[in-house]
């Protein structure tokens, strides 16, 4: 992890002038972004599946303190080194716990990572009917960064509801980069290409993009309204690729190529590191990280107590109450079995909290012109369900870190059954928007958040 990178958007984007006239809407966005360019804001989301045990997770409303941390959150007071993850001091003051959000207002199915950033009802399709939070924010905060947004997804699952958690709009799943080596190639490989070669490549690719634009415009004359919007998406991608091609990043030196690994945790740590580096180089301001699909997470390589290593996170989350559970407790007296099952969920939840801690610490250790990366950001921890055992989605394990827009951390806000739209509305408004309400069903911001 590189630290201490001094950022200047202008140096990062030197030579990034877009030569070709942009369509009207994009031109408007450019202008708005330019106005906000002096105070870049960033949004990061971390998805880890299978929720938690809300009873062992939710603190009472009010300030967080080391003494008041519930069992699942106790590592917020600091934790030791753990294989590839470094030790960390107390970080509860960097986090605000947001409890009792009712996600059943929008998500009808028991395991829909696709809805974990959504506030627009899935209509029974398991997919959001509007843009996910990261995409909504990207429209407003991406500015002229080369990557309007990035999604890193540590699963090869291609089911629309499992392997895709970001949607530009209804029916528009956003592609994810699923391999650290590919992320590296995409974002940083060009940094090692000699400048003259790179300039030639830029000019050449720009000419190809110009041809695509010409073809799209000719084609659109022949198409109906719905088909046109699909070609518009293609054109939008041309504009985005243009920024990526033209961007130069003198503020960044290429990181080492991530070592190939089949270990999901190693890979995910590489994804976090590459993502934070992309933020620190201002390659993007919107980053989504998916640890796994609902079924793929396990803790085999870690020395966690109570037999956690033998079962998947999904099985452990079901305690004793479902068929897809850890069956080694079946022979025990039920009270003993339940005690162990509860402990296991606390252990896995603590692991999840520690990974959130790693992410926010990585961001905090990058200094910027105005402080550190976390100061300019909001970082959301999300899951597809609240109570892993019952699949309940009325008590989501949401956490927020960062101080974008003056957001205050180190506390717990009980939203008292607020719909997800209300929660997202509050987040959006910290990015300088003044929405009266957001989502479907729409709801206004949460008082006190």
């Amino acid at each position: 992890m590189r630290t201490g990178v001094r950022l200047s958007r202008r140096t990062v984007l030197r030579g990034g002038a877009v030569a070709v006239a942009l369509p009207f809407l994009e031109a408007m966005e450019e202008k708005r972004a330019a106005a906000a360019a002096d105070t870049p804001k960033r949004f990061v989301a971390l998805f880890i599946p299978n929720g938690t045990d809300p009873g062992q997770w939710n603190p009472t409303e009010g300030p967080l303190s080391a003494a008041s941390l519930p069992p699942c959150l106790q590592d917020m007071a600091g934790f030791a080194v753990e294989r590839e993850w470094p030790a960390m001091g107390a970080f509860f003051s960097d986090v605000t716990m947001v409890t009792k959000v009712n996600h059943e207002t929008v998500s009808t199915y028991i395991h829909s990572p696709s809805m974990s950033l959504g506030a627009h009802h899935d209509g029974g399709t398991k997919l959001p009917s509007g843009p996910t939070l990261d995409q909504y924010l990207a429209n407003h905060i991406a500015g002229t960064t080369p990557y309007r947004n990035l999604v890193f997804s540590n699963t090869k699952d291609t089911a629309a509801e499992q392997g895709f958690i970001s949607f530009r709009d209804k029916n528009q799943p956003e592609d994810a980069l699923r391999d650290p080596a590919k992320i590296f190639d995409t974002l940083f490989k060009n940094l090692s290409v000699p400048t003259a070669d790179l300039d030639a490549l830029r000019t050449r690719r720009q000419s190809v993009l110009d041809w695509i634009r010409d073809d799209a415009k000719r084609l659109q004359l022949r198409l109906g309204a719905v088909d046109k919007t699909r070609v518009d998406q293609h054109l939008q991608s041309v504009s985005e690729l243009e920024k990526q091609i033209q961007a130069t990043s003198p503020a960044c030196t290429a990181p080492a190529v991530p070592a190939a690994s089949s270990d999901q945790h190693t890979r995910f740590k590489q994804m976090i590191d590459l993502g934070v580096l992309a933020l620190s180089c201002d390659l993007t301001r919107v980053l989504v990280l998916q640890y796994s699909n609902s079924w793929g997470l396990d803790f085999k390589p870690y020395n966690l107590p109570d037999g956690v290593a033998d079962w998947s996170d999904h099985f452990i989350s079901h305690k004793l109450g479902d068929r897809d559970r850890a069956t080694d407790l079946d022979g025990l007296p039920s009270a003993d079995a339940m005690a162990i099952a509860n402990k296991r969920v606390i252990n896995t939840s603590r692991f999840k909290v520690r990974r959130f801690g790693y992410l926010i610490n990585a961001m905090k250790s990058v200094t910027t012109a105005t402080g550190n990366l976390l100061d300019d950001s909001l970082v959301l921890y999300t899951s597809e369900i609240g109570d892993g055992d019952s699949h309940g989605r009325r008590d989501m394990p949401f956490m927020l870190a960062g101080h974008a827009g003056g957001f205050k951390t180190g506390r717990t806000v009980n939203t008292k059954d607020a719909p997800t739209g209300a929660f997202h509305c509050s987040i959006i408004n910290y990015f300088g928007l003044q929405l009266a309400q957001y989502g479907n069903p729409a709801a206004g911001p949460i008082a006190g958040l």
Binding site: N171, S207, L223, R323
Partner: protein
């Protein structure tokens, strides 16, 4: 809105033409209360599996199959597979290029071809550009192939324009107009850093533009448009071969040979018998029956190893290919056959001694657990694909894959019944969910099928020490004329004769080839293809042949 079997809903709409099925339809509708429903469904225009009739017709009215009509279809991007197969042809390559940079297509209901979900993101465009750069460069460095693809000597001044005209026509699936071709040639001359590079620039420009990446269908510009001849050639080629039409097929279309039903039918028959159809339908089978990727079991059974996984997949491919494409052999035989193709190691896993190398055709001995069960006991198909309860998920697989029933838990049901199930033994849970509303509506259709598979574990290993009777549920195939089941072979036999099977298979082929779930009058083409399959003694190729021969195949309804 309650949904039960999609096929049966379709059947209900098409009752005019299929009165014989009235009785089973009503039984189905009544039996799975609360299968799925949500109050906001009408708010959704994602055509979900078994989605409503849509703009093609009034939801409350059965489709009028005397009218030629079709459901709306959005502009389709080439799927990753179609893209790769098309590039193989364009560049005369021995195999489709990997194109590993191109993101995998998302899937719904197992199918990776759903057009509504396909876009051209910046990640796609980046990948398409890289692939085109590589393929163009390799082409120009390979003299014999370059000559064949260019059709002229690159050193000749006129060759660039010739290449743009011929290659461009294949890439865009239409002729480029003069202005377009000249503009591209001029640009290539301006941008190219060498003569070869001009050709590479043309390749890069064509293969990243929407006219190549989208399957443009404009037809006669009507709301329900009749496709132009070359558009029809394109649809035909993608439907059967999953790739752009060949120069020959485009030429035939331009000569008007596809204008008549006979002409189109003749072209289709010729293409169905080509190995390219089998190649494209390999992917269909994997998506339909869900065996493209197998999981490592949580607990490995005896004689299991990771190396068996590809052999299991291959077993299923071989059986499907045999029963799908051998003339005169009905596809239903794949469900009941007593032979399979296993390696010695996979044979051992199945409890058999198999000699030889590679996958060997092997008969199951009398009394073997897999006797006369065809596909239904392939390890690739019955091994666990998710963490779900095996008894329910196997029942669901049979009903959704072969009978097109859609059975999802009603929203919120699990949270509400959780307390009722806590502390119960597994047989007690099964008992409860098979008798108590709202679970029983679906589980009583699923579990009695699934319990018949109970002796096969998550890896598909047969464990004789498991007793089916321990589950407190008698194997049963609800809906069949004689629902009692004596064995899995009995289930296989009854499934192969289920009246819903043919239309369901037709529906799956429709989704795979047309990139959308049937809506409105699509039910007529699907229903006809199902009937044709039965009439043709379950010759698998009849399904797609029937879909192509349907008058609706020439139409495109512009989405609104």
């Amino acid at each position: 809105v309650h949904r039960s079997g999609t096929a049966s809903r379709r059947t209900l709409k098409a009752l005019v033409v299929r009165p014989a099925l009235l009785l089973p339809v009503l039984l189905l509708l009544g039996s799975c209360q609360g299968s799925i429903g949500n109050s906001l469904e009408e708010d959704s225009d994602i055509a979900t599996p078994g989605g409503g009739p849509g703009p093609g017709g009034d939801p409350s009215q059965p489709a009028d199959c005397t009218k030629t009509d079709t459901g709306p279809s959005v502009l389709r991007r080439l799927s990753k597979l179609e893209y790769r197969l098309t590039l193989q042809d364009l560049f005369h390559l021995p195999a489709p290029p990997e194109a590993a940079q191109v993101p995998e297509d998302g899937q719904q209901d197992g199918f990776h071809t759903i057009a509504a979900l396909q876009n051209v993101s910046d990640g796609h465009l980046r990948a398409y550009l890289e692939v085109a750069e590589t393929l163009g460069k390799e082409l120009m460095a390979d003299a014999p192939r370059r000559q064949a693809v260019l059709g002229c000597d690159a050193a000749q001044a006129a060759c660039l324009k010739t290449f743009i005209t011929t290659f461009g026509k294949l890439a865009y699936r239409r002729s480029l107009d003069d202005q377009e071709a000249s503009a591209l040639a001029n640009k290539a001359v301006m941008v190219g850093r060498s003569n070869d590079d001009r050709f590479q620039f043309v390749v890069e420009s064509l293969l990243t533009s929407p006219s190549f990446l989208f399957r443009v269908e404009i037809g006669d510009n009507a709301e329900v448009a009749t496709l132009q001849p070359t558009e029809l050639a394109s649809r035909l080629s993608f439907t059967l071969w999953g790739r752009s039409p060949s120069a020959d097929l485009i030429a035939r279309a331009e000569r008007g040979e596809l204008d008549s039903a006979e002409g189109l039918g003749a072209a289709a028959r010729q293409m169905v018998s080509d190995p390219k159809t089998q190649e494209f339908f390999q992917a269909f089978f994997k998506q339909w029956l869900n065996f493209a990727e197998l999981r490592t079991p949580k607990k490995a059974p005896p004689r299991w190893s990771e190396a068996l996984l590809p052999e299991m997949i291959h077993e299923t491919e071989l059986v499907l290919n045999e029963f799908a494409w051998t003339p005169g052999v009905p596809f239903t035989g794949a469900l009941t056959t007593n032979h399979t193709y296993v390696t010695p190691a996979l044979g051992a896993f199945y409890g058999m001694n198999v000699a030889g190398t590679g996958s060997v055709r092997t008969e199951f001995a009398a009394g073997h657990a897999r006797q006369n069960t065809g596909l239904l006991t392939h390890a690739s198909l019955i091994s666990a694909k998710s963490d779900s309860d095996l008894i329910a998920s196997r029942g669901k697989w049979i009903r959704s894959a072969f009978l097109c029933e859609k059975l999802d838990p009603p929203p919120g049901v699990l949270a509400t019944i959780q307390a009722d199930l806590a502390g119960l033994s597994y047989p007690e849970v099964i008992q409860k969910r098979n008798t108590q509303s709202p679970c029983a509506g679906c589980h009583a259709r699923l579990d009695p099928i699934g319990v018949g598979f109970a002796q096969f574990d998550e890896a598909g290993y047969f464990d004789a020490s498991v007793k089916i009777s321990d589950y407190g549920l008698t194997p049963r195939f609800e809906g069949a004329a004689d629902p009692e089941l004596s064995s899995l072979a009995d289930l296989a036999g009854k499934l192969s004769q289920a009246p819903e099977l043919a239309e369901c298979m037709a529906q799956k082929v429709f989704v795979y080839t047309q990139g959308r779930f049937p809506e409105g009058n699509d039910v007529c083409s699907v229903s006809a293809a199902g009937q044709r399959l039965v009439t043709d003694n379950y010759q698998f190729g009849s399904i797609v042949a029937s879909l192509i021969e349907s008058p609706a195949f020439r139409l495109r309804r512009v989405p609104q």
